[in-house]
């Protein structure tokens, strides 16, 4: 299977990924990052085969339906997965299923890259504090936006470029070798468990230990009623109702007290 991209194609895709993963396009990047769709579309444009790109991406999307990142931890980076898997699939005339087999492990690796960004960003904090103490608004803004953005670009562009330009064939062979082996299993397990991090952080941040029973109530409702496939909005309504009744019942006291 002869798989190559031109320098420009590889570079353009790498830049696109960096734009998303640096989050420099604002909150709109959330859905670009959680979903492979926009990346798949861009790859299609760049490679001149939108139709095939979209078909492959749609298959990948199904794997990531419903991912959320409460408190910061997304168990995989679908957009990075798509950035690598879609070109490989197009060039290699692979089936959507084959593309998924590439996208999943790559997306898992990508999620470690994204977390790594958090460490690197720490370097920007010193200058933020300095500018803030000096009351320097312009400097503060610079250190908040420009430094982290540059860090992300320096991190993602080369890596993705290399992976695409030199790595595509390697990746597809590596991926087919590790197949359903232990590495994939480990990556999957870590991904599945990492979701707990963000949730624990938010619970901690909410901080009211006396309200924890409502966490457990919800947890076991979602377990007990799993077979009923209850829609998230409906759960949110239940949460709101419990909150209102709870406040009603406790406020009365306070009012009277």
């Amino acid at each position: 299977m002869h798989v190559t991209l031109s320098v420009w194609q590889a570079l353009l895709i790498a830049i696109w990924v960096a734009l998303i993963e640096s989050r420099i396009l604002g909150f709109a990047t959330l859905t670009m990052r959680f979903s492979p769709l926009m990346t798949g579309m861009m790859v299609g444009f760049i490679m001149g085969d939108i139709k095939q790109a979209m078909i492959v991406t749609a298959a990948i999307q199904l794997v990531y339906m419903g991912f959320v990142a409460p408190g910061g931890a997304l168990p995989a980076e679908p957009s990075i997965g798509a950035a690598i898997a879609v070109p490989v699939a197009i060039l290699g005339h692979m089936s959507p299923q084959g593309a998924i087999a590439i996208a999943v492990p790559v997306a898992l690796l990508g999620s470690y890259l994204y977390q790594f960004r958090f460490f690197l960003n720490t370097f920007a904090l010193k200058s933020m504090d300095r500018f803030a103490a000096a009351g320097n608004a312009r400097g503060l803004g610079f250190s908040i936006m420009v430094i982290p953005a540059c860090i992300s670009f320096a991190l993602f562009i080369p890596l993705i470029f290399i992976a695409l330009y030199f790595g595509a064939p390697v990746i597809s062979s590596v991926v087919s070798n590790i197949g359903h082996g232990t590495i994939i299993h480990v990556l999957n397990s870590v991904g599945g468990g990492l979701a707990a991090l963000g949730i624990a952080i938010i619970m901690q941040v909410i901080g009211k230990k006396t309200l924890l029973p409502f966490f457990f109530l919800a947890y076991f409702m979602s377990v007990a009623f799993a077979k009923l496939d209850i829609n998230m909005t409906i759960y949110a309504v239940f949460g709101a109702i419990f909150a209102i009744i709870y406040v009603m019942l406790t406020q009365r006291n306070t009012d009277k007290g």
Partner: protein
Amino acid sequence: MSETADIQATNDEAVQEDTPKRIPQPDKITNKDLMKSWFGWWWANEVPHTFDRMLAPSFCFGLIPSLKKLYKDHDELAKAFQRHLLFFNTQATWGGGTLTGVTISLEEARAKAMANGEEAISEDMINNTKVGLMGPLAGIGDSIDSGTVQYIFIAIFLPFAQKGNFLGALLPFLCFSIATFIYGYYLTKMGYTLGRNAAKEIMTGGRMAGIIDGLGVMGLYMMGILAGQYITVKSYLKFDINQKTFDVQKILDTIMPGMLPLLTVVLLYLYFQKQGLKITRGLLYLTGALIVLSIFYII
């Protein structure tokens, strides 16, 4: 709320005395300022994400234009910048939008009072309000925006993508981005109005506690739902005794379905409870444990 106080204490390097001094009159905050601040937060949102401050810098970034209008006094401006660089994390629209509004109105009340030489809302009060609301609103916002709104748009337009049409990618992106931007802005304005009305109450205690409690109930409830639906930890351990295979996950399901995911999140919670919110370490330990356990196919 002791743990959030901890966070604050940890980050708060320069403890400021709070005797309000006389400063120049602040400019009036207009809708345009609110839009600027909302846009600033929206734009910076997760750019400077770190484990120790989380999204505080972005929040501060959004406030810059408003704070400059409120604090003509250079020292007070610097202090305001500093207090909004402390640990902060919330979801973008429901949390960040609302709190951008609330915070600006509280800062405005503070600036005005200082200019008039009246008793001002203290830095602590501003911080406690922000910190008390950020968690619950994050829980709610993540469920609604990321967990529901986003996937609704994707689900609706997915058939396009499946037929190879690029609208299947563009439309959900546009719908989500535009919808959230718009209601985020309205939440900002609502937060600002709420904050104005609440400013007095906040100073005296009052109903704020009830609101925070209620949002806390809902936030924790949604975290429970997300935990039940998105954390997937199960045991792959099987062993044979006497030609009979024991499937550990099945046994655990007999005891209590959903045990391992719950255990994971509760252990992490307790770790943070004991050790303080040391996220990086939590991440490392968790990853380490997951790797080790999964290499041996225990999970």
